[in-house]
Amino acid sequence: MSDSLVSIARALVFIVVALVLCAVIFSIAGFSAELMFSAILDGAFLRNGALNHALRWGLPLFITAVGVAISFRAGYFNIGAQGQFYVGAICAAFVAEWTSGAPAFIVIPLCFLAGMIGGALWALWPGLLRLRSGADEVITTLMGNFLAGLLLIYVTSGPLKDQSGSGQQASSRPLEAAYRISNSLGVSPLIISIAVMVGLSMWLLVNRTSFGMMSGLAGRNPTMVTWQGAKLWKVGLASFLISGALAGLAGTIELMGPNGRLASGFLPAHGFTAILIALVANLSILGSAVAALFFGGLASAALYLPVIAGLPSSAIDIINAAIALFITARSQLIDRIMRFRSRANG
């Protein structure tokens, strides 16, 4: 118990350190840090309907983050959530296009299936390259993100192009209203229940199955697990596939829920934010739910800033990046203070 208190305290301390760095950057760029932070706080958590907005962004983020946590736990640095998210959305969009006209209760499950398979496949090839040849997954999944981004541009300006669209951003034809699983506010009972199901089933997988324990051990010491006779590639491949499928699922939700169509370069920070959520939560499923709400709030503030407060939305990117810079830091000092306190108390 005191161990997890230490890690929560550490996460909070380094988030504060990150915010201080952000304040410095904002001031250098000529913004009042005070104004900036109060606007962000307002946009993220305090304005009317803030919780709704945080959920709209937080639920898909949570699903992707759970996938990231599963692959990180197993020791694989799959940072390709963004690409898997895109490919999942693209596959779902294609299926929706092909089955157009069929009843919703057929189309929607098919789209979800396609999205998850697409995301899983986009994680499969880096997984195989890693497990069979030892090719480092950090670079391959990163390159996968860029490739998926190009694929999205191609799809939205080619096969699925919306001819009537006149904006500067290429996008696909909008989904028929019957196939949408939420309105553009992006919160519906279906989405909430999907997120709850994902959270529950993944919590069970991690905490109550042999797979969960093996991957936890393998992530910390693959050599030891090998000497116990485990087939690491099985655990590894499953982790890659699950994390890809969940990112693809989140992409499908974004497509069929709030967005209703594909747009080139949509939600460019989704994967990175999901990685942050998993890390801030110390790779726990439960913690990811809390962290997702926080980062979901920040994501909604990114839209609020330029429109309501007249401030640049890149401020949110900077906050996220600064948190990433510090979140894995471990200062002896915090450990010592916490140990001292727990000893004094008990």
Binding site: S7, Y76, A135, V138, A324, L325
Partner: protein, 297 residues
């Protein structure tokens, strides 16, 4: 033919500078995923420097200074706070991308591209059709050679490698690995600034947000591909540039028959193949990060 070579040199030179930064960091024991962020900071600082000081020399100095300061921050987080190199590197990249966007937004009021009245000096008409290339292209081979000498033929290079490969061995002869890494990262920061400067002010003379488009990550892949050897890594970087240039060329040849966006992906695919090949040749990469430490309990 000339124009292909010019195109390759233009896209390859920034990559080579940033790759050298990755090589020196990797030799010292740091897997540097912040290259992308440093590169875009260098690009942005160079263009803004030219706009505001009207001097390319001052602009370069500003860019180098900014990247060196950011490198010191990265060093502090990774070495002193013991943060995970990969995640902290991605964070530095995010700071570079977000920070440069914020900078141009706060100065010019929009996210549109910023152009500069002039760029880096050209190498001049003496070189015929190559005369329009910047002097950083001309200097690039000398930098590679200098790095080869520095890393492979000096005692400093040996100490750097010892600090990266066997920090305890370094400590036992009185070398402080963490200090060596600071030196390596700061030198690397300066090189990233040059790479960014060449990218933005070499032939283009403008800065737009996210203009590095993953080149920093490609440079990182070139480091792995080249097994940390400066010449090998530089060649790998040039290889990625060649693939990119051929893709653009193929576009002119094939026209609409092959989707344009997919040809743009060729360098990324080449990078993946490069990583895969180097893993096959060397029997699997060492895990570049300690995962166990990502989770505390």
């Amino acid at each position: 033919m000339d124009d292909i070579i010019i195109a390759i040199l233009r896209s390859g030179t920034p990559l080579v500078y940033v790759t050298l930064a990755g090589v020196i960091a990797q030799r010292a024991g740091i897997w540097h995923l912040g290259l992308e962020g440093l590169m875009i900071a260098g690009a942005c600082a160079t263009i803004l420097g030219v706009v505001f000081t009207q001097s390319i020399v001052l602009a370069l100095l500003i860019a180098v200074g900014v990247c060196m300061i950011a490198s010191v921050l990265f060093w502090f987080v990774v070495e002193k706070l013991k943060a995970n190199q990969i995640i902290a590197g991605l964070g530095l990249t995010g700071l570079g991308l977000g920070g440069t966007t914020l900078a141009i937004e706060s100065i010019f009021g929009s996210q549109a591209a910023v152009s500069a009245p002039f760029g880096l000096p050209r190498i001049g008409p003496l070189f015929g059709s190559f005369g329009n290339l910047s002097i950083l292209v001309l200097l690039m081979p000398f930098f590679v050679l200098a790095f080869w000498v520095l890393l492979r033929r000096t005692r400093f290079g040996l100490r750097l490698a010892a600090a990266g490969e066997h920090p305890y061995a370094a400590r036992s002869v009185g070398i402080e690995p963490s200090r060596i890494r600071l030196v390596a990262l700061v030198i690397g920061g300066a090189l990233c600034a040059l790479g960014g400067a060449e990218l933005a002010a070499g032939s283009l003379q403008f800065f737009s947000q996210n203009m590095t488009a993953g080149r920093g990550f490609m440079a990182f892949a070139a480091v792995i591909f080249g097994a940390g050897h400066p010449v090998g890594a530089a060649l790998a970087a040039m290889f990625f540039a060649i693939v990119g240039a051929l893709g653009i060329r193929a576009q002119l040849v094939f026209g609409d028959r092959v989707p344009h966006d997919l040809l743009l992906g060729l360098p990324y695919i080449a990078t993946v193949i490069g990583i895969w090949m180097s893993a096959r040749l060397r029997g699997g990469a060492k895990a570049i990060s300690g995962f166990g430490e990502l989770r505390d309990n």
